[in-house]
């Protein structure tokens, strides 16, 4: 055994960026999913749900692989606990995307045309927040190269604030979409109301988890 080779563990930052990329592929499908759901195209909706489910599973595999390579004896530039929580939060984006897929395929829930704009505007907002996060996640290896110091960190801190603002915007759109939905409560019926509430909650929490993940990176950077 060569001690100098055995000394080096697998750095988690490259794989974390890779995990983010996989989560992004999953989350990106929310847009066509909700679109086809609103259009009433059940086959297409189900097809997209299955795709999301597959991509989410792939993200899980990367997640578990990262966890397997993080034994307690590892010395890292950031706290191991922070990395694990971070990974869990980032993975939740994909989980919530899958939840949306389940919710829109479990029942033939109809949406009045008047709701469609509000729903799509909510979807756009959460995707914007998530995308802002994914752009940061792609830079994780660069941050490692800069050893979590310097102008690179300042730039990331600014971007993290942006994610927070976008999440706030998504919250407002969620409230707006819910309000529009209740305007039509008589038209869609109580069962659909319950389902829509859950869809909105799942959509909103995609943005929430993007913000949480960004906040965890902020914590890691602040400990420098």
């Amino acid at each position: 055994m060569r001690p100098i080779i055995a000394l080096f563990g697998k750095s988690p930052f490259g794989p974390l960026a890779q995990h983010a990329e996989q989560v992004r592929a999953t989350v990106d499908l929310i847009h066509p999913l909700v679109e086809s759901f609103l259009a009433g195209d059940r086959d297409r909706t189900y097809e997209l749900y299955e795709q999301i489910s597959k991509l989410e599973h792939k993200a899980d595999i990367i997640k578990n692989d990262i966890r397997d390579h993080l034994p307690k004896s590892l010395l890292m530039p950031v706290d191991r606990g922070d990395v694990l929580t971070f990974l869990k939060e980032q993975d939740s984006l994909a989980d919530r995307a899958e939840d949306v897929g389940v919710l829109v395929t479990m029942r033939d829930t109809r949406a009045p045309d008047a709701m469609k704009d509000a729903v799509m505007s909510l979807v756009d907002a959460i995707l914007e927040a998530a995308t802002a996060w994914f752009r940061i996640a792609a830079e994780l290896p660069t941050l490692e190269g800069a050893s979590f110091a310097g102008p690179e960190v300042d730039r990331m801190m600014d971007q993290i604030k942006k994610v927070s603002n976008l999440e706030w915007e998504a919250d407002k759109r969620q409230a707006e979409a819910t309000r529009v939905m209740f305007e039509h409560e008589a038209e869609i019926g109580p069962v659909s109301v319950v389902l829509w509430m859950n869809i909105f909650r799942a959509l909103g929490s995609v943005a929430d988890h993007a913000e949480n993940t960004a906040d965890l990176l902020r914590v890691m950077l602040a400990k420098r």
Partner: protein, 421 residues
């Protein structure tokens, strides 16, 4: 006398074999990362390593060689006035041969079963075994032995601290600066000056020590700083015009410059490694040669290490490097991609400074373990993505195993061989 000649020939072959093994296996630690990062081609790495290993062995190698040839075992106990009478010198020569054979055999077996053993620990343990089997507890100079064991703990820690400080400074003044490119261009001459000064210091100190009446350390310091300043100014003239090619990211530029600087520290490691590790091969040889020159009639108390013995050891290391070492360098270069030039530079600077200091003091330390300590130091400065600290436990275990095992192996071998003279 014929027995003496046979022992002399055998210990020469054994020493050369050991030197070959050191060149084949251990030199890779110095050059592996530079080859891996593309800063050096395999061929230029071998040539540079060969030259510097040889220079380190011949110029600085004598101190540690003396420690192994007569510091661990009280060789005077083997003089003709001692317990063994006329046979004393021959028995000591035989003992040194047994130590060499036992250390080499244990290295082979341990490497085969995957233990992270160190050449230094093997040979020190084996020589200690010879002292123990000949004269029991009083056959070993426990003061020297204590110092050696302490240096095994101190050297990785000191290497770690120096590497930590180096990388901390690089992080603080280059990576974290608003303009890493400008910071690199401005800082590089100082870094080169520091490396040059440290490298020159121990060499000058050694040279002056034997020839001057003035306190050599002060003069050596003055010369080293002078050389450092000159080298720094020369570097500044070169770096002033450095700029990243269009489209290159600032951190990539920093790493590219440090890839060049890392060639310097890799050479530094090779030099320090030669200075320290040549003794593992030629320590026993030097002991036998001094007895041989006294016609096996006495054990000389105060003799230096003949230059040709160091040349022989240095040459053995170079041959090992050329015949097998290049393959190990290529392997290490491929395996360690996590360490970028800024990190490699810091680790190598910390390790080489420590090893060279130990060599100057005549302390046989493990170059590999010091380098491991230095890399961990960079890790603590948040420089490396993931380091497996379990290796520390493995290394400590290998100390605990290697010293007794090689001591016992040498003792058994010696106890049997002794019956025939």
């Amino acid at each position: 006398m014929t027995v003496g000649l046979i022992i002399m020939a055998a210990v020469l072959i054994g020493g050369l074999y050991m030197a070959w093994g050191i060149g084949a296996n251990d030199v890779a630690n110095a050059m592996g990362t530079s080859v891996g990062s593309g800063a050096l081609t395999l061929l230029s790495a071998i040539i540079l390593a060969g030259v510097l290993e040889f220079a380190g062995s011949v110029l600085i190698g004598a101190s540690v060689t003396q420690t192994i040839s007569k510091g661990i075992v009280d060789t005077q106990l083997f003089d003709i006035t001692g317990r063994y009478g006329d046979r004393g010198p021959t028995i000591l020569a035989l003992g040194m041969l047994c130590a060499l054979v036992a250390a080499a055999a244990w290295l082979h077996i341990a490497t085969h079963i995957g233990l992270p053993v160190s050449t230094t620990h093997s040979i020190v343990g084996a020589v200690m075994g010879i002292g123990l089997v000949s004269f029991g507890i009083r056959g070993v100079d426990w003061g020297t032995m204590g110092g050696i064991v302490a240096s095994w703990v101190i050297s990785p820690v000191l290497g770690g601290i120096l590497a930590f400080v180096s990388f901390w400074a690089i992080r603080r003044y280059i990576l974290a600066s608003p303009d890493p490119v400008l910071a690199t261009v401005r800082t590089t001459p100082y870094i080169v000056a520091a490396v040059a000064a440290v490298m020159v210091l121990s060499f000058i100190y050694k040279v002056l020590k034997n020839r001057m009446d003035v306190p050599p350390i002060l003069l050596a310091l003055a010369v080293a700083i002078g050389v450092g300043v000159i080298v720094g100014i020369m570097t500044a003239a070169f770096t002033r015009s450095l700029a990243p090619p269009p489209g290159m990211k600032p951190y990539d530029f920093v790493e590219r410059v440090f890839a060049l600087l890392q060639i310097g520290t890799a050479c530094f490691v090779a030099f320090a490694h030669g200075a320290n590790d040549v003794a593992n091969a030629v320590g026993p040889v030097a002991a036998v040669v001094s007895i041989y020159q006294a016609g096996f009639a006495s054990v000389p108390a105060e003799v230096g290490v003949p230059l040709w013995v160091l040349v022989l050891g240095g040459a053995g290391i170079v041959v090992g490097l050329a015949t097998l070492g290049y393959r190990v360098i290529a392997t290490i270069g491929k395996e360690i991609t996590e360490i970028t030039p800024t990190r490699g530079f810091s680790a190598e600077f910390g390790a080489a400074t420590t090893v060279l200091l130990a060599s100057t003091l005549g302390l046989p330390v493990s170059t590999t373990h010091t380098l491991v300590g230095a890399v961990i130091g960079v890790g603590f400065a948040r420089g490396i993505g993931a380091l497996n600290l379990r290796i520390i436990r493995n290394i400590v275990n290998s100390w605990l195993a290697t010293v007794p095992v090689s001591a016992a192996a040498a003792a058994v071998l010696f106890a049997i061989a002794r019956l025939f003279v």
